[in-house]
Symmetry: C2
Subunit: 325 residues, 2 copies
């Protein structure tokens, strides 16, 4: 009997679905559009059909398939209520009772659970990745935004309302850069991929860097991959972007240490591919901001989840958490 869990990752434009085995391998996967029309019933139908098609495929190879449940990662996903609430980048308005709607389609499944994408990634790291055996750790996902998930005593922290772990919105610079959420100075405005672009423009403006490899790119053209490529060629602006991003990130990670004292903090996402360009200044800045009792003992590590599959794998890991209850 092969045990699998379904992982669903709901993004602004695409929804990725995969069937994941107990070792965290994605056996089959598919994509459907996340609708722009706001019609949740149609979308639940599409999603359910896609899940049925995928499990059918796996059953052809493993007729004795045991489907443990469905885990869903979604922006503004609320674990306690199984809802997606006021997600700015989705077309569904207000509060969507997502788990409830999916249970109607799959009444026989033991576990259907939902949380936000970064929380799902943290659970994925704990079940399948580098945090195996760690009771206290945190995970930051660096991408278009910055998400996070915090594990205390082996359990994800959901807080009183199901929304805990939004470290991308801690304040780094009072009155600083405008964040996507409307507030100013949040970590996400500095350490996300678009934040790195903003840093590059700030440096070029400050030092009038017409000779930088980045100086011919418009604000809308420049992305974090170009900054990495330029850093590899020794471009001063690009190198300073990583230096500065690490400095800010380390400051934010220190706040996480002072709150929950994790054994390790895992970093996941595009900018993390830049390796020591980002890890070195991050570690240095972390240490500079810490109380002496925390110095030289917090590990800053790259996520061990495969970049392409991490969101699906993380979401599927939610199912195991449910079954352990």
């Amino acid at each position: 009997m092969k045990k699998v869990a379904i992982g669903v990752d709901i993004g602004g434009t695409n929804t990725a679905i995969g069937v994941v085995d107990a070792e965290g391998n994605v056996l089959v996967k598919d994509n459907i559009s996340t609708p722009s029309h706001g019609n949740i019933d149609l979308y639940i139908n599409d999603l359910s059909n896609a899940i049925r098609e995928l499990t059918k495929k796996v059953k052809m190879v493993n007729p004795e398939l045991d489907i443990l449940g469905i885990g869903i990662g979604a922006p503004n996903g609320n674990y306690y209520n199984g809802t997606i609430e006021y997600a700015p980048n989705l077309s569904f308005k207000g509060v969507v009772h997502f788990v409830q709607l999916l249970k109607v389609q799959f009444p026989d499944l033991q576990a259907i659970a939902l949380t936000n994408d970064a929380n799902a990634a943290a659970i994925g790291e704990m079940i399948y990745g580098g945090a195996k055996g760690m009771a206290n750790f945190a995970m930051y996902t660096l991408g278009t935004g910055v998400g996070s998930g915090i594990v205390v005593d082996g359990k994800l922290v959901y807080g009183h309302d199901g929304f805990a772990g939004e470290c991308g919105h801690t304040t780094l610079i009072p009155g600083g850069r405008l964040c996507g959420c409307g507030a100013r100075g949040h970590l996400e405005a500095y350490c996300s991929a678009p934040g790195m672009k903003r840093t590059a423009f700030e440096i070029m403006a400050r030092d009038n860097c017409s000779d930088s490899l980045l100086a011919d790119k418009s604000f809308n053209e420049l992305d974090s991959k170009m900054i990495f490529d330029a850093a590899e060629k020794g471009d001063k602006v690009a190198l300073e972007v990583f230096e500065q991003t690490g400095k800010w990130l380390g400051q934010g990670l220190a706040d996480t240490v002072h709150h929950n004292s994790p054994e390790a903090i895992f970093l996941f996402g595009g900018p993390v591919a830049a390796g020591e360009y980002i890890f070195k200044p991050t570690r240095e800045s972390l240490e500079a901001h810490l109380l002496p009792i925390f110095k030289n003992k917090i590990k800053i590590l790259p996520s061990q989840l495969k970049p392409g599959d991490a969101a699906i794998v993380g979401a599927s890991a939610l199912v195991y958490g449910e079954l352990e209850k």
Copy 2:
């Protein structure tokens, strides 16, 4: 049979000891000197004798006394190891195995446990105070320093090393004021009682406020009580100190919300006696820094522990946590 717990609060100069009943009332209490000579064996003897004397007194009224255990609040107290580690304001050097030493004196007691003073206060708030029935909350203690304790799912967060909950050392202003710990810009350097004094001096320097009621006090004379008294008389500098302190504190509390999403954050300590002078700007600043999903739902409340007894009562509450295990 009357059940009681012993609470011990170790401060830099004094150690307060009390016998506390199950409702959080201090039945008898005493003080001994925290030694400046660093001799731990002598101190453990003095402390043990004081505890025996106090319980003898209570037994005279309640012969059928059931002493559940001893809870200790101490700077740099490590719950996991029962140790006091490198506490800057105590004369004991290195790591002191405090619980172990006390167990030799009281081998029959079921529970002897130790944590830092702010963690003890948070447990006190949960067992005897305003956080009864709350599964997720945080507590900030504002005094000479700023301590904190965080409760997630009904359990105090100790983190991987036993030192979690040091929110006084989150960074508010990168490169800002020098903190007692050696780093710059930490919350404690702004929101502690000495932090408020620094703010008063900053404002007077900035605006040349020779007509302020605070303008005749030296840096070493001015304290937060004088600032409160001046605010009551409408002094502009003093009022701005509270306004500014609340603004900074609200920024810090927002970071705590973004990490752990507590239902409420309790404030304890001298500056809290200033009531709305501090609570109003704190709440406004908190809201301004929060993600929309957290707005208008986090309560900022004064601690319900009695100021004089809180440290003893908090420490004694540790015992109940131990017995629940």
